[in-house]
């Protein structure tokens, strides 16, 4: 177990594994995502309340799922960084934080555009949108702090502390925003009760979510490989690998 853990932390081992898995991640991710989107856009039935605008859900929900789970993954990595000082954990946080930011932005953007035809407004200070906006700030802070510190190791550990402080705060923020929202709920924008989704609707949604997760896996592997190249460029194995023409 312990040996496996150490192996997992070795950049060289990861680099090899990632290179082997990446084509599969990319192919299956694209396939599932395209299948989910095409099915959702063209074949899924119309929602009887919201009409066709609900079709945004097939990208909105996957983006929102990823935005949140990337932060959780970063928090686990942060623990590993602080406790075991594993190199790969630092690399992961640094590599995926911008991806998380983009997905958070996407979920906010699609949510806003979805809101216009559905509730007649681009933005509501609704609990979910507001806490997503705060998540965007948290990602921004993580990236800004990482950029501001020159030394890689210090940056990784400082970012790890920040991510953990953020993750302790997320439930508190979520709870307080929910509470605040019930206090200020503007009656006109009351969310309609979600009817249970038809099978033809949730199957493509699940496909799109799975596809986006796989694509995220590909992106994470690629960006981590780049970061490993930068950090380990003076080691023998990177030199041998690059001179031998391996990707």
């Amino acid at each position: 177990m312990w040996q496996f853990f150490h192996k997992l932390g070795s950049p060289k081992w990861f680099y090899g594994i990632a290179t082997r898995f990446m084509p599969w991640l990319l192919a299956s991710g694209l396939l599932l995502l395209v299948a989910g989107i095409v099915w959702g856009l063209a074949f899924a039935p119309k929602d009887y309340l919201q009409g066709n605008s609900y079709r945004i859900i097939f990208i909105h929900v996957p983006a929102a799922f990823l935005a949140q789970s990337i932060y959780i993954m970063m928090a686990f990595s942060a623990v590993v960084t602080l406790v075991w000082r594993m190199k790969l954990a630092d690399v992961f946080v640094k590599a995926v934080a911008p991806v998380g930011l983009v997905f958070t932005f996407l979920s906010l953007f699609t949510g806003a555009v979805w809101g216009k035809p559905t509730w007649g407004t681009w933005w509501v200070w609704d609990a979910r949108l507001t806490s997503m906006l705060i998540l965007l700030f948290l990602y921004g802070g993580v990236i800004a702090l990482d950029r501001a510190i020159n030394d890689e190791k210090s940056a990784a550990r400082a970012v790890a502390v920040l991510v953990l402080v953020g993750v302790v705060n997320i439930p508190i923020i979520k709870y307080s925003v929910d509470w605040w929202n019930t206090l200020h709920q503007p009656a006109t924008f009351k969310l309609t009760e979600k009817p249970s989704m038809a099978v033809e609707m949730w199957v493509p949604l699940v496909l799109a979510i799975l596809g986006l997760y796989l694509l995220f896996g590909w992106l994470a592997c690629l960006r981590m490989k780049t970061e490993i190249l930068i950090r380990e460029q003076r080691t023998r194995w990177v030199r041998d690998l690059v001179l031998a023409g391996g990707k």
Binding site: N150, D151, E152, K153, S154, R231, R234
Partner: protein, 212 residues
């Protein structure tokens, strides 16, 4: 031969992706003065900060009295005195208040002792003047006054002679030598040409890092 106070085994430190030193091993015995030497940027200050426990970005082993240092951090801190580049003196406080604050977390010391120490560094008459009105050398002397009352067996002194006049330098040299004779261990970095009988060296940045 007495047991080494501090023992370093294959220390390695990388800073801003530049390797400062690797495979650095040495032992610090009680009753010795050790000088860390090397050109600018060779990592003297970083080494001292690592030994003090201020810098965590290193690998290797550090043993304090035969036990891993990280496991008895508090005992280590209690027995180690570090004076850095920055003197640790609040410009708004007087020398006496500064010394009091510096000793506060360590052990109880009476004001008389502190005043004596200040007098010993040539600061009598300045005890109640805010430190920002003192010269750079005088401010350093406030920090150095701690050496006159310190009972910690290990001293880590980074650039002790900065801004100190010739007479002061001589007095400090004598102090270090006396300290070694008492059985204390001192590690210094300095660009001043410090020569003491029986002094040990740790050389950085010369390519090879030998044991000493």
């Amino acid at each position: 031969m007495p047991e080494p106070l501090l023992q370093a085994v294959s220390l390695e430190c990388e800073r801003d992706s530049r390797l400062l030193f690797q495979n650095l091993s040495f032992s610090i015995l009680p009753g010795t003065v050790t000088r860390v030497e090397g050109p600018n940027g060779s990592g003297k200050t970083t080494l001292l900060r690592i030994l003090a426990g201020l810098n965590d970005a290193w690998s290797g082993e550090l043993h304090w009295c035969g036990k891993p240092r990280e496991q008895n951090r508090e005992s280590y801190l209690r027995n180690m005195l570090y004076l850095g580049h920055r003197p640790g003196i609040k410009p708004l406080l007087t020398p006496l208040e500064n010394l009091r604050a510096l000793m506060a977390g360590r052990r109880p010391v009476s004001d008389e002792v502190l005043l004596q120490a200040l007098a010993g560094t040539g600061l009598s008459g300045f005890e109640h003047v805010a430190c920002r009105n003192l010269s750079a050398g005088q401010q350093r002397r406030v920090a150095l006054a701690r050496l006159l009352i310190a009972d910690e067996p290990l001293w880590l002194l980074d650039e002790v002679f900065t801004a100190i006049d010739a007479a002061g330098v001589e007095a400090i040299e004598a102090l270090l030598q006396q300290r070694a004779a008492e059985g204390g261990a001192v590690i210094v970095t300095t660009h001043h040409d410090l020569q003491l009988p029986g002094m040990k060296f740790i050389t950085l940045g010369a390519g090879e890092n030998d044991e000493c």
